[in-house]
Amino acid sequence: MKNLIRIRDLTVKFYTYEGVVHAIDDLELDIRQGETLGIVGETGSGKTMTALAILRLIPYPGKIESGSIIFFDTGLRREIDLLKLSEDKMRSIRGNKISMVFQEPGAALNPVFTIGNQISEVFLLHQRRELGKRAKEQVDRLLRDGDGFAAGIKRPFWRWQKRLYDKISQESNPFEPRFLSHVPLFRRLLWRLENESKLLTVDMLKDVEIPDAARVAIHYPHELSGGMKQRAVIAMALACSPELLIADEPTTSLDVTIQAQMLELFRRIKVEKGASVLFITHNLGVASEVCDRVAVMYAGSLCEVASVEELFLHPSHPYTKALLDAVPMPGKDLQTIPGALADPLNPPSGCRFHPRCPSAMPVCQQEKAKLKDISNDHMVACHLF
């Protein structure tokens, strides 16, 4: 299987007044085609930053210092380094080939637009050409049949309107100039265009199992419950059938029963749409439910990557072990990890986990361990191996 995303030596730093925050440190991670890769870790471990780096949305004062993120575009069948793309090209990838579901569905939606409006915006932005073709066919048919009257179009400067219409619709991207919406014939075309996108939106909402989708599409975000909002956000992310869907803690603000519905939805999406999913969570239980492979991060660096069964049944990195022991389970004593999370302003030397590690060796203080294959599909960054 080919790797959809190949992250190599990624380093992200934040230049703050207090000093340089090492958000991500020499990260190496692959996302394979059609898999769900989970990233787990505690607050400040760099999970979200990894996702934002893929989309090149690292907020100020953060900067991607070095490294490469190679994205394999299945449509074009070639590899692109996302970090070297121009901002324009990046925009055509964001929301189209790589899309993201954010943590708080209430904050991700704009409160002053309806759900349908916000989802159809994705179609109007990324699939304008296809929609435009369909809309033009309809208008062409009406023009042919009734010479303009059937379309109910006002006819001042009719010849001029038609000539403009013929000329502009030959162009590669015909619906861009704003002033065209003042020309009656084009206004008709734009209506059809928007109508097409609304139909697609309702289909999309049905796809994420929203009951009564046509009615929900004209609702504002505050009229929906948390679970419904999250479904709408997922619909928006899936609108352009992305190759990679990044979900940043999509179930954290939801109740368990709604969370279970969401996890079911994610599992179905992966099977039906064949999209790869990067699933970020701090809940190890959730990770074990939906993921095929899981990566564990601590203080900006990767500790361990393995298939779900491998990771949960044979955790190898001391941090992974400690994290699993800290999860409350019936009939088990809770183990705590001594010490506090590494200070991102001046992280410990060598392995980031060594001050809290029960099996730390002298070498851990000096050198950061490289990611090593220890068994089939199981990589660990630890000097023990």
Binding site: E42, T43, S225, G227, M228, D255, V256, T257, I258, Q259, A260, Q261, L263, E264, H282, N283, L284, G285, V286, A287, S288, E289, V308, E309, F312, L313, A322, L323, L324, D325, A326, V327, P328, M329, P330, G331, K332, L334, Q335, T336, I337, A340, L341
Partner: protein, 348 residues
């Protein structure tokens, strides 16, 4: 073990105002007829989804909210409760009953009586980022309950505060700091120290670890365990995570839409749930064990609004076993097994 807190048919309704005159047009039935007994030195877990009335129940229990109806007995002997019960069943006004209630029923308390209760019952809030005053130093925060209740009024509270902070694992060097200088876990420790200041018998925890990371959560839970055995405390622990309740609590009550639907020991809730809601709650709790991925029950729909609950059993629109009976009659909480209560017509 005797009973410390006995809640009988407690109701808390919040009125909804409407119309030009803002007259009440309805009520949000946050807690709707809950009976619950908390034994001394018990760690009772209260589990349920958001909006089911867990927090309202806890706040009403320690009288931060005045209940609409019902009785709350805090450390009242059984004979007195029986006497009240007997008088209550008789008709007409009864002066003995009124005076008994005034002396024993927390629901009727006010003023100084309430203040003396608050010394004995404390609350730790959900979000440690909003429950501490950002303009107060840590020593002031922890000393505030001592000041209000007039404990140690003759001497400086410094020593007591030092001791409390030491007990929850913070150093004395941090006394002069402000809350923003602490991490989430440390703030929750400060909130716990503040709750311990008056040497209470009972502490209610409102999701104390939901804002914290797993490893910090484990530290806090272990701290609570130590404190409980050290001071002989009684806990009411609210959580929406079943796994936490299973691993630390002695007894669990499952709430749904303002009502307790099942009460049992944790092993029984986890392995032998009787109410369909508890069953689906157990099944939809993600467990970090890839072998346990099978047999999930995904509940359809969402929790109905507590302002307009469905008739009959409130769970019936989402229940797979719902029958005609469930849509018309309301099941009451009944004892089915040793310490196992369930409110369902068709238990599993």
């Amino acid at each position: 073990m005797n009973t410390l807190i006995d809640i009988r048919k407690l109701k808390k309704h919040f009125p909804i105002a409407g119309g030009i005159f803002r007259r009440p047009v309805g009520a949000v039935k946050a807690v709707d007829g809950v009976s619950l007994a908390i034994k001394r030195e018990q760690w009772l877990g209260l589990v349920g989804e958001s909006g089911c009335g867990k927090t309202t129940l806890a706040k009403t229990t320690i009288r931060l909210l005045k209940p609409t109806s019902g009785h709350i007995y805090f450390d009242v002997p059984d004979e007195v409760k029986a006497e009240i019960e007997r008088l209550d069943s008789q008709d007409g006004k009864n002066s003995t009953l009124t005076s008994l209630l005034k002396d024993n029923d927390l629901a009727t308390f006010s003023g100084s009586r309430l203040r003396s209760l608050r010394r004995r019952a404390q609350l730790v809030h959900q979000d440690p980022f909003t429950s501490l005053d950002p303009r107060m130093r840590i020593k002031q925060i922890v000393a505030e309950p001592l000041r209000i209740h007039g404990i140690l009024s003759d001497q400086s509270p410094e020593m007591a505060v030092r001791e409390l902070l030491g007990r929850v694992g913070l150093s004395a060097a941090q006394l002069e700091r402000y809350p923003h200088q602490f991490s989430g876990g440390q703030r929750q420790r400060i909130a716990i120290a503040r709750a311990l200041a008056t040497k209470p018998e009972f502490i209610a925890f409102d999701e104390p670890t939901s804002a914290l990371d797993v490893s910090v959560q484990a530290q806090i839970l272990n701290l609570l365990k130590e404190l409980k055995s050290e001071f002989g405390l009684t806990y009411l622990y609210i959580t929406h995570e079943l796994l936490i309740a299973e691993s630390v609590c002695d007894y669990i009550a499952v709430m749904y839409l303002g009502k307790v639907v099942e009460m049992a020991r944790p092993e029984e809730i986890f392995h032998k749930p009787l109410h369909p809601y508890s069953q689906s709650l157990v099944a939809s709790t993600p467990v970090p064990d890839p072998k346990r991925r099978v047999g999930r029950i995904v509940l359809p729909g969402e929790v109905p609004s507590p302002a307009n609950p469905p008739p009959g059993c409130t769970f019936n629109p989402r229940c797979s076993r719902a029958s005609k009976e469930c849509r018309e009659l309301e099941p009451s909480l009944e004892l089915v097994d040793n310490d196992h209560y369930v409110a369902c017509f068709h238990p599993l």
